[in-house]
Symmetry: C2
Subunit: 501 residues, 2 copies
């Protein structure tokens, strides 16, 4: 199984598909492994600003509607409500939802869903227009990972909303340069990943993107399971019964299946690299299951960034020490006992350095451990896309092409929201999204059809909830081959069948 890896130890037989020998690709350790932004505090302040303002927009909704509910017997209710909403939320409400207040109570559930959707649309537009989370540019990151021996980073975290910020926050990676597909329990679809691998290799061979196939780099698949340090038995991964060892084991098995799939299906030493990461959803610290030189790793053996941080990481971070690779490299090597490939070590050093910043962030702005250690998502996102969702506990996201395939994931999400919303009388806002490649004729029309199809299948699966008025949907599509915003194509919040979005 590791034959192509073993080959890499014989530098004389080096071929296009063999890992670069350390001698050749030895990256310079004495350079900054994080993009320049000094001091670290600045990056954190900027990220916090974005997290805070965005979440506040969602969190205001309930209070505003509570006030509006209280004023619905006023004579000039519509004006009052609109003025209040405009001041507080920044937008007016759809008038038809307010005007019949003197006949029957205003439908707060519909208003709530509408406001969540409106807030999301604003957030999404802003994300694509202003790029608030833009980090270093794609090409310099590509250069970095290629120096580490990789050409593609493909992360599958759990669908749990508490991991939605894994790329931009927890690991401090530029979101545009990392493929992210979320699955309940990080149990990613092996066949889907194989397909992505095929596509990646084709582009390298045919178009030299992101690099030539003759370059000795590999596809890196990262699986990210999660656990809770504060309430390990209750707030861990629901898909694995809050059992962190099981969560790690099963993510590991999925990684191994993917690698073996590549090795068995294709010739000429085809293989990929693997990395298993655990995320503590309370502190955002991570466990990195550092692989050895042969690519082997295990569930018990990992570096824990929280203990690294506690052993003085914070100070070193502020002094800029951890941004110098050499130092961190020794720390890692001392811990794991075995020595990973040099490029992998360098990438891990970068992930750890980035994550130490995130631990500092959580300490600085969230008291070291989030107040919302449990689920606090604001809506469910389902379909293909959602690049703009990079915030923790905002979205339960399920990557799926059909409800039929994603049913298990969706059931988890609906169960979470039954507790969060329905129990209190509020509907579940579900945003259905399908990204498409605009350069393919008819792709947009097909994406719209997909959205409608998902909407219909969702409503069928949760018929009872829908009938009781406890599920609302917003349908969006986006041309992901362009840097443009998403487009609304339908909404279940209606008056006289007229859609209000």
């Amino acid at each position: 199984m590791f034959n192509s890896r073993e080959k890499s130890r014989r530098p004389l037989q080096r071929s296009a598909f063999v890992r670069p020998s350390p001698q050749r690709a030895a990256p310079s350790w004495n350079v900054n492994i994080l993009p320049a932004e000094t001091p670290v505090v600045n990056a954190n302040a900027r990220l916090y600003q974005y997290e805070k303002t965005t979440k506040e927009q969602f969190d205001k909704i309930e209070n505003v509607l509570r006030e509006i509910s209280a004023m619905q017997h006023e004579r000039n209710f519509v004006d009052l409500a609109q003025r209040f909403a405009k001041t507080q939320l920044g937008f007016s409400l759809p008038e038809p939802l307010l005007t019949n207040h003197w006949i029957k109570p205003v439908d707060i559930g519909q208003l709530y869903a509408w406001c969540v959707f409106e807030t999301f649309i604003n957030m999404s537009d802003e994300f694509f227009n202003l790029q608030p989370l833009a980090m270093e540019d794609e090409s310099s990151f590509q250069k970095f990972i290629q120096e580490c021996g990789f050409h593609t980073l493909d992360v599958s975290p759990c669908a749990d909303g508490r991991l939605a910020h894994i790329v931009s926050y927890v690991l401090r990676l530029p979101y545009k340069s990392v493929r992210r597909k979320s699955y309940a329990g990080a149990m990613f679809d092996v066949e889907d990943s194989l397909q992505k691998w095929v596509e990646t290799e084709m582009l390298r061979h045919r178009e030299g993107k992101p690099n030539q196939a003759s370059e000795p780099t590999r596809y890196l698949k990262i699986a990210a399971y999660h656990f809770s340090s504060v309430a390990p038995e209750h707030e861990g991964c629901a898909a694995h019964g809050s059992d962190e060892v099981r969560a790690a084991e099963e993510a590991k098995n999925q990684l191994l299946a993917f690698r073996q799939g590549v090795e068995n299906s294709f010739c000429c030493g085809a293989s990929i690299d693997l990395l298993l990461i655990g995320v503590d959803t309370d502190t955002d610290s991570i466990r990195v299951h550092v692989p050895d030189a042969l690519g082997n790793f295990d569930v018990e053996n990992y570096i824990d960034t929280l203990s690294l941080y506690r052993r003085g990481g914070a100070g070193k971070l502020n002094q800029g020490d951890y941004r110098l690779g050499e130092n961190l490299r020794d720390v890692i090597l001392a811990q794991v006992g075995s020595s990973p490939a040099d490029g992998m070590l360098r990438l891990i050093a970068r992930l750890i350095a980035g994550n130490l910043q995130q631990i500092e962030y959580v300490k600085q702005y969230h008291g070291g451990s989030y107040y919302d250690i449990g689920h606090q998502e604001r809506f469910i996102g389902m379909g293909i896309g959602f690049e703009e969702i990079q915030l923790r506990n905002l979205t339960f996201f399920s990557y799926l092409k059909t409800v039929e395939e994603g049913a298990k994931d969706l059931d988890v999400g609906v169960k979470i929201f039954s507790g969060l919303n329905i129990q209190r009388g509020l509907p579940i806002p579900v945003i259905i999204r399908f990204d498409y490649h605009g350069e393919v004729p008819g792709a947009k029309a097909r994406a719209e059809l997909r959205c409608q199809q998902l909407n219909q299948a969702l409503r069928q699966r949760y018929e009872d909830i829908v009938k009781r008025g406890y599920m609302h949907t917003l349908l969006m599509v986006r041309d992901c081959s362009m840097d443009v915003k998403a487009e609304v194509i339908g909404c279940s919040v209606t008056v006289n069948k007229e859609e209000l979005h």
Copy 2:
């Protein structure tokens, strides 16, 4: 849109992605374009033998069960029935379905479904064990199509059972060497085809399979719509309201969308070749919409093999004339007025020559026009796979990964079978199949899960029919990376919850 095609007219700028100029790749016309099997009659006799014996196995079932039904009040019924079944069908029936005949009438519906499944399993096993439709070997066919300028043949016929024999019979191509994916109305999935194109190019670049990417060959996508010459208004394509022009137009649009998708999504002159074919489901004659040198084709302009046959094709065929390309080439060029690329012309000549054999076949064995010009399928097949189904009007086949995506196709199939079976009191036998790549760890388990998932979704969609006992399912998986038979993993025909298959 045709830029890469236009380039091909300038031989000086020839590159890996440019069509070969006629000068260079000029195939030898004076060789047989069909594999050697003299006389043609032999091939037809062999094909008929297979069609006849296979279909008879299915067609006997009703009569046998009618007899068995009549004998259920005999004292030694179980023995009698078993002996009769064994003699007539070649297999015994599941005893538990017979033994309670003295308490209540034998459940003929269950027996019927069971017999159809048993017959299919036997047919499928035989197909993979004995390869009754094996033609020339894969490598000589690959050589032929590469000489024509293609490396892959990908056919999307309509899901209609009257086109299920398109590869092995109507076009006389070796089924193993042709990708076939059926969709109602031949409206194939553009994104799925793009993915296949990507995979194909990757293998050419990386592994030189089926040929090196530097060879100037292309991917050929064929769409096959259908019509009825005997009852054009009623027995045409249901998906297009029996309107043959609409059927052709929409298949053409799908082809163009696929080509433009390839051209827009990939650089360096990426393109594919297209061919539109219409099949007359009464006579099995075809219309070939011969493309011009730029790859343009239209719905009105085609060669009709039936009139070719009537103008003396039969005689020439028997004398072996049509097996000499030169002759047929002139016939085609005289008809279309414009001149297609030489390799395309050669492929078309082979398709036409093969189809003339099939017209002769239909004349010889089916009186020139099938007695069953309408639907007469014996079961529905759904899922991924079914290489063994190469017979006309045996199966309504729907290529799908989920019922959600394939719902429209399935609805058509269920409607057809409501007329064929339910109306007479017989259930619809549905065979669910999922092929997998055995070299990928866990793929078999996932294929089994897929089968179960499809089964569940099917039962949910047609709940009413299932409740009335009018739908039965057989679940099968097959390792398509090996030359092995399919495996039964479940069946809805049960006694005391014990599956009888």
